[in-house]
C-alpha cells in the first residue's frame, strides 16, 4: 500500500506541476530543444560559398511536382518503365521457354519412361509440378528482372515522395491520408508490403482506408498477367512496330484505373462507414540522390526479384499438382476440372469471362502469379486439344505470345475476354498472403472480410457492365 501511495504521488505531483506550467509544456520544450540545436549547429557547421545542389533539387521539384507537369511526367515515367519491360522481356522469355520446356521437358519425360516410372507419378511430377514451375519461371523472371531494378532505381533517386506530393490533394479529397500515396506505391511492388507500410499512417480510420484499398495497386504478381494479355489481345490490334507501345499504354490504363478505384473506394468508405476528419501531416521531400546503379540492380535482384520468384515457385509447385489431378481424375468419364468449368461457365460468360478463368482464380488464390499458367493448362485440358502436350492437364510448350494467342482463341476467347481478364485481374480478392497480413494488421475479421470481398464484387460488377456495353455496341 505504501509503495502504491508513493508512486501515485509522483503522478499527483506531475499533475499539480502541469497545472502550474499550463498546457503549452510541449511547445516550450520543443522551443528549448530547437534553440539548443540552433546554438550547437551554429558552432559546428561552416558553409563555404553558395550551395548549388539545393537549388538544383528545387528546380527539379518545381517541374516534377508542378500542377501542369506532375501527372504527365509520372505517367510518362511509368510508361517508359513498362515499355522497356515489355520489349526487353520477350527475348529472354523465349530463351527460357526453349531451355526449360522445349529441351528439358522431353529429356525428363524420356528419363522417366526409361526408368519405367508409373504414369501417374510421371504425370503428377513432370506434367504437373515441373511444367508449372518452368512456366512460372519463364513467364515471370524476365519481366521482374527488368521491372524491379528500374522501379528501384527510381525509388533510390528519390522520386516516390514526389509522387506522394502530387497525389496528396487527391487523397485528401477522397477523405484519406496523404501518406496513402506512399503505401499505394509500395503496393505496386507487393500488396502485403503495402498493407504493412500503412503503419506510417497514425489515424486508425485513415489507416483502415489505406489497408482496404491497397489491393487496387496492381501488384507484381499481376503485372505479368496484364503485360501478357495486353500483348496478345491488344498489341495485335495494331501493326507490329506499334504493338509494344499500345500494349504498354493499355497496361498503364489498367494501373491508372486501379488508382481511380482507390480514390473512389476511399471516398465511398470515408463518406459512409469510416467517416471522420482528414489528418494533416508534413511530408519531407528528400534530396535527390544519384542511385548507385550496379548495387541497386544487385540488391533489387536479390531482395525483390528472387524473393518474389521463390514465392511464386513455392505456390506453383503444389498448384501444378492440383491442376494435374483435377484434370486427370474423372467422375462419370469427365474430369473434375471439366465439371467445375462447365459449372462456372454460365456465370463466367455472363460477365464476359469464362469458366476456365474463374476456376484459375480459385486455384490461384494463394498467389496471383500463377493465374496465366493455370488458365492455359485448364484451357487445353478442357478442349482436349490434339497435338498440344502429351495428355490432358499438361502445360504445353509455347514459343511465343502468338501461340498462346492461338490456344486462347481456340478456347473461345475474344478481345472482350482479354479486356475483362485484365479488369478482373485488377479487381479481385487479394492473394492469401495479403489477406493474412490484413488480418494481422487490423486484428479484425470484419475488416479482413470487407477488404477481401469488396474488390471481387467490384470486379464482377465492372466486368458485367463492360460485357453488357460491349455486346450492345460491338
Amino acid at each position: 500500500m505504501t509503495s502504491q501511495h508513493k508512486k501515485d504521488s509522483i503522478a499527483a505531483l506531475a499533475n499539480r506541476l502541469r497545472w502550474n506550467i499550463g498546457d503549452n509544456f510541449h511547445d516550450k520544450l520543443t522551443e528549448g530543444i530547437y534553440a539548443d540545436a540552433a546554438d550547437i549547429a551554429s558552432r559546428a557547421v561552416h558553409q563555404q560559398g553558395e550551395p548549388r545542389n539545393a537549388t538544383m533539387d528545387s528546380k527539379i521539384d518545381s517541374i516534377v511536382t508542378s500542377k501542369t507537369w506532375g501527372f504527365p511526367i509520372m505517367i510518362g515515367i511509368l510508361a517508359v518503365i513498362l515499355w522497356l519491360t515489355i520489349e526487353g522481356a520477350n527475348v529472354p522469355s523465349g530463351l527460357l521457354f526453349n531451355l526449360l520446356i522445349d529441351t528439358m521437358y522431353p529429356i525428363l519425360k524420356g528419363f522417366s519412361s526409361q526408368l519405367g516410372i508409373a504414369w501417374w507419378i510421371d504425370g503428377l511430377l513432370i506434367d504437373g509440378v515441373y511444367l508449372a514451375l518452368a512456366w512460372v519461371i519463364a513467364v515471370m523472371l524476365p519481366p521482374m528482372a527488368i521491372f524491379f531494378p528500374l522501379f528501384t532505381l527510381l525509388e533510390d533517386f528519390g522520386y516516390l515522395p514526389r509522387v506522394a506530393f502530387n497525389m496528396d490533394a487527391l487523397f485528401k479529397k477522397s477523405g484519406a491520408h496523404g501518406k496513402q500515396a506512399l503505401t499505394m506505391s509500395m503496393g505496386f511492388g507487393c500488396n502485403a508490403a503495402g498493407v504493412i507500410a500503412t503503419r506510417i499512417i497514425d489515424s486508425p480510420r485513415e489507416r483502415l482506408i489505406a489497408i482496404i484499398t491497397n489491393n487496387f495497386s496492381l501488384c507484381n504478381g499481376r503485372w505479368p498477367t496484364q503485360i501478357l494479355i495486353a500483348v496478345i489481345f491488344i498489341g495485335v490490334l495494331v501493326p507490329d512496330s506499334m504493338s509494344g507501345l499500345v500494349a504498354s499504354a493499355s497496361v498503364i490504363s489498367i494501373a491508372l484505373l486501379g488508382i481511380g478505384f482507390m480514390f473512389l473506394t476511399s471516398l465511398g468508405l470515408s463518406k459512409t462507414v469510416l467517416k471522420g476528419e482528414v489528418s494533416t501531416f508534413t511530408l519531407e521531400l528528400p534530396p535527390y540522390r544519384p542511385p548507385r546503379v550496379w548495387q541497386t540492380i544487385y540488391t533489387s535482384l536479390i531482395d525483390r526479384t528472387l524473393i518474389v520468384l521463390w514465392r511464386a515457385i513455392v505456390f506453383a509447385a503444389p498448384a501444378g499438382a492440383v491442376i494435374w489431378l483435377v484434370s486427370n481424375i474423372e467422375i462419370a468419364d469427365i474430369s473434375i476440372a471439366n465439371h467445375l468449368i462447365e459449372w462456372l461457365n454460365p456465370f463466367g460468360l455472363f460477365i464476359g469471362l469464362n469458366g476456365v478463368i474463374l476456376l484459375a482464380y480459385i486455384v490461384a488464390i494463394p498467389a496471383n502469379e500463377i493465374v496465366i499458367p493455370t488458365i492455359l493448362m485448364l484451357t487445353v485440358a478442357n478442349l482436349k486439344m490434339a497435338g498440344l502436350g502429351e495428355g490432358s492437364g499438361v502445360m504445353f510448350e509455347l514459343d511465343s505470345a502468338m501461340e498462346t494467342s492461338n490456344i486462347l482463341s481456340a478456347g473461345g476467347w475474344t478481345l472482350l475476354t482479354g479486356v475483362n481478364l485484365m479488369l478482373f485481374s485488377l479487381l479481385h480478392n487479394p492473394c492469401s498472403t495479403t489477406i493474412y497480413t490484413i488480418y494481422k494488421e487490423t486484428k479484425s475479421w470484419k475488416w479482413t472480410t470487407v477488404a477481401s470481398i469488396l474488390p471481387v464484387i467490384m470486379g464482377f460488377v465492372v466486368t458485367f457492365l463492360v460485357a453488357q456495353v460491349w455486346r450492345l455496341f460491338l
Binding site: I21, T30, A164
Partner: protein, 259 residues
Amino acid sequence: MKTHSEEACTDCTFHNTEGLKKLGVNTSEVDFVVALAGNPNTGKSTVFNALTGLRQHTGNWPGKTVLRAEGGYSYGSKKYKLIDLPGTYSLLSTSEDEEVARNFILFGKPDVTVIVVDAARLERNLNLVLQVLEITNNAVICLNLLDEAKRHKITVDERALARDLGVPVVGTVARTQEGIPALLNTISKVAQGEIICKPHRVKSLSKPIEESVNELTKKIEVQFPGLPNSRWVAFRLLEGDQRITNAITTNELSELIDV
C-alpha cells in the same frame, strides 16, 4: 559515487536482458545491443547494412523502416546485435513509429544508441539528437552523408560537435563504407565503457519549466534510484504521456532498474 561493480553491471552480457526480451529481441549469445536511431532519409538503413553486411534494399523515401529491423555483427571478440529503429523527426509525438523508437531506447535500454545524422542538414537533425541524449547516456553520433555535405560546400567541425554534445562523433559516407571502421571502433569503446559519455541536456528552458522539471526529477530519483533517464521521465510526465504514467503506477519502471 558509483562503485566499479555497478558500472560493470550496466556493461555486462546479461544487462537488461529481460527488458529487451519483452520488446521481442533475442539476446542469446549477444554481448551488446546497439540501437540505430535517426531522422528519415539520413541513410540510416545504409549504415545498418554497412555495419551488418546485410544487403537489404534501402529506399530513398521516408517511412521505409516501419518495423524494427535486426541484424548482427561481431567486432573484436564481442558479438553485437543491431536494431534499426524507424526514422523519426522527434520522439515527442504520439505516432506509432516514434513510439517504437522511444520505447525501445527507454525500455529496451540498448548498450549503445547510434544516432545517424545528415551532415548537410545538421541543425534540423540535432533536434532528434538532443531528445535521444535526454533518454540515454551511451550514444555515438554517426555524422553521415559527408559526401553530400561536401557537394553542398558544408563542413562540420566534428570535434566542436562532440564537445558540445558530450558524446563521440564519427564522420561517415555509409554508401562507400567510408568511416565505418572508425564507427565500429567507437561503438565498441562506448559499449565497453572505454569512452564515458556526458551527454548534453537541454538548457534553453524557461525558468518555471526548468524548476518544475527539476522538482519532479528529484522526486522520481528518490523513488526510483538508479533510473538513468529520470529527467526524460519527468518530461514525459509533464507532457501527460499515458504510457509513462502507466509505467509508474504499474511496476514497469522499477522492474527496469531491478534487472
